[in-house]
C-alpha cells in the first residue's frame, strides 16, 4: 500500500446492515482515512454528524426509523445541520427509477448502486472533488444542482418556474 493517511479527514457511514457497514468502513480505512464513524439509521446519524462533523457521508437508503432520504433532507435543510454542504453518497440496492429520483430530490451528491466495487466507490468520491456541482436553493429544495449538464447554447423556453437566473443571490 502506498501509505496515504488522512489524520483529519473524516467519514460517516450510515448503514443498517452490519456486513455492508463493516465493508464500507474497511474500504475507507484502505483509502487511508483514520477517523470513520458509523451509524445504523438516519436518526442516529444526525446525532453523530452534529458531534463529529464528518467531511464525507456514505449512506444507505432503507433504514428504520429514519431512512437515508429523510436523513439527507435533514442534513441539507435543518437549521441544526452543522454542514448542509457535506458530500453525501447514497449507496443502495434500490435501483428503481422513482427511488433514484427521490434520492436526487433529497439532495444526495452522488448515487451508487450495489453491488459496490472499490473502483466505483472511489470514482464517486473523485467525482465530488474533480467536478463539484453548484448548490441550489430553490423553493423547498437545497442541495447540489440536479442538472448535471448545462447547455449554454440553449435558447428554448425555461422549463421550470425556478430556473436559475444569471443574477442569482446567495443567502
Amino acid at each position: 500500500m502506498s501509505g496515504a493517511t488522512f489524520d483529519y479527514l473524516t467519514a460517516l457511514i450510515v448503514e443498517d446492515n452490519v456486513h455492508m457497514r463493516t465493508l464500507l468502513h474497511s474500504l475507507m480505512t484502505a483509502l487511508g482515512l483514520k477517523q470513520v464513524f458509523e451509524a445504523t439509521n438516519g436518526e442516529d446519524a444526525f446525532v453523530v454528524m452534529r458531534e463529529r462533523k464528518p467531511d464525507l457521508i456514505l449512506t444507505d437508503l432503507s433504514m428504520k426509523p429514519v431512512d437515508g432520504i429523510a436523513f439527507t433532507q435533514e442534513v441539507r435543510m435543518s437549521h441544526k445541520s452543522p454542514n448542509p454542504y457535506v458530500p453525501i453518497i447514497m449507496i443502495t440496492g434500490h435501483t428503481e427509477r422513482h427511488r433514484v429520483e427521490a434520492a436526487r430530490d433529497a439532495g444526495v451528491t452522488e448515487f451508487l448502486a450495489k453491488p459496490i466495487t472499490a473502483q466505483n466507490l472511489f470514482l464517486r468520491i473523485a467525482e465530488i472533488i474533480e467536478r463539484p456541482r453548484p448548490f441550489v436553493r430553490a423553493g423547498d429544495y437545497f442541495g447540489p444542482d440536479r442538472r448535471r449538464r448545462a447547455d449554454e447554447n440553449y435558447r428554448g423556453p425555461w422549463r421550470r418556474h425556478e430556473d436559475v437566473r444569471s443574477d442569482v443571490e446567495i443567502r
Binding site: T22, A126, I129, E162
Partner: protein
C-alpha cells in the same frame, strides 16, 4: 365556468433561485482534496481496497444464505413486504459475495414486487416461487457465476418484463 389555461399559457411566477458555486461552499480543504485524489487514483490503493472486498466474500456469502432462509420463511407466510426486504438485502450483498447470478435474480424479484406494490396489484405466487427457488439454488451453488446462472437470471428478467408489460397494458386500456 372557468376556462383552464394550459401550462404554457399561465404566466410563470419566477422564483429566484440562489446558486452557490463550488469554491464558495466548503467541501474538502484544498490540500486534503489533492492528496485524497491521488489516493483515489493510486492503483496500489485501489487493489488493496478490492482485496478488502474479496476477503469479506465468505462472510457475505453466509449472510446472503441467512437472508435466503428468512425470505423463504416470509414467502411461506405470504408476507410480500418482508420477501421484498430480504430480496433487497440479498441483491445488495450478493455481488460482493461473488454471487453474481443470485444478486441479479434477487434484483429482478425486487423490481417485480416493487412495481406490483406501486400498482396496487398482488404478485403471482408462481412468479415469486420461481424466483425464490432460483435464488436458493444459485446461492448454494459452487459454480453460481456460470452460464447456467446467467441464463436463469436472463429468463426470469424476461418473464418479469413480460408480466409488468401485461400490467401496464391492462392499466392503459
Amino acid at each position: 365556468m372557468t376556462a383552464h389555461k394550459s401550462d404554457s399559457q399561465i404566466p410563470h411566477k419566477r422564483v429566484r433561485a440562489a446558486k452557490i458555486p463550488p469554491g464558495v461552499y466548503p467541501v474538502f480543504a484544498a490540500k486534503d482534496a489533492a492528496r485524497l485524489l491521488r489516493a483515489l487514483n493510486d492503483p496500489e490503493i485501489i487493489a488493496q481496497a478490492a482485496l478488502v472486498i474479496v476477503s469479506k466474500a465468505e462472510e457475505l456469502r453466509i449472510a446472503v444464505l441467512s437472508h435466503v432462509e428468512r425470505m423463504a420463511e416470509a414467502a411461506r407466510l405470504s408476507n410480500h413486504g418482508e420477501v421484498f426486504a430480504q430480496a433487497h438485502e440479498i441483491r445488495g450483498l450478493a455481488g460482493c459475495a461473488g454471487l453474481v447470478a443470485t444478486g441479479r435474480i434477487a434484483n429482478t424479484l425486487c423490481k417485480y414486487l416493487d412495481a406490483l406494490s406501486r400498482a396496487g396489484a398482488a404478485p403471482e405466487q408462481s412468479v415469486v416461487a420461481l424466483h425464490l427457488d432460483a435464488i436458493a439454488r444459485a446461492a448454494h451453488a459452487e459454480d453460481e457465476a456460470t452460464r447456467l446462472g446467467d441464463t436463469v437470471a436472463n429468463e426470469l428478467a424476461a418473464l418479469v418484463d413480460k408480466k409488468l408489460a401485461e400490467i401496464n397494458n391492462s392499466a392503459t386500456r
